[in-house]
Symmetry: C2
Subunit: 113 residues, 2 copies
């Protein structure tokens, strides 16, 4: 069993194109022995965003703190603490923080095998 506070896990600045003011921690991943899915904690700073993109794999998201915008094909959706978001594979999506406070959420993905 591994137990630790999520802030003890190294912070990564994703370098993918279109990622802006985003920090990520891979809190439960290969290194910890996970074999099926990966838990990441994201922080998007005010004015930050992920790219508007799609991919084959899904996202399972839980909003930890703050508010933000999740964009889908139909437009913008405001989300708040305690909201849950399921983004199926192949669906276009973007996470944006237009506010003035950091926005934190958990985002899980299947392990790429």
């Amino acid at each position: 069993m591994i137990i630790r506070h999520y802030t003890e896990v190294e912070e990564i600045i994703p370098e993918e194109q279109g990622v802006n003011k985003v920090k990520m921690r891979r809190v439960i991943a290969e290194k910890e022995g996970a074999e099926n899915f990966v838990m990441r904690v994201f922080e998007i700073e005010p004015g930050g965003n992920t790219p508007l993109h799609s991919h084959t794999w899904e996202h399972e998201v839980f909003i930890l703190s703050g508010t933000g915008i999740v964009v889908d094909q139909l437009g913008e959706n405001e989300v708040k603490t305690g909201d849950v978001v399921f983004v199926p594979g192949e669906e276009k999506h973007q996470f944006r923080n237009p506010g003035d406070k950091p926005w934190e959420f958990i985002c899980l993905i299947p392990m790429r095998k």
Copy 2:
């Protein structure tokens, strides 16, 4: 894309033996289109617990609010908001709330195929 507050999802009282004062919501599961892993939100009331057991699949846990005890082979571990717990498959574990406030956490499991 599905977006909703976790409290909008139906609450289930697990009926498994050894489960005491526990409520569960399957917030992202088969019904939502998940194919690889399931997100559940648990609330353990004061004095409640899950059974001390093991199984083939892993748990990926994030503590949302409150404090509680996670038991492993070596004994009791106190956890608090923001702690992350990885329980590998086949490892004995139990979740207990000896406090006087509800304890909430996310617990993900792989889909049983």
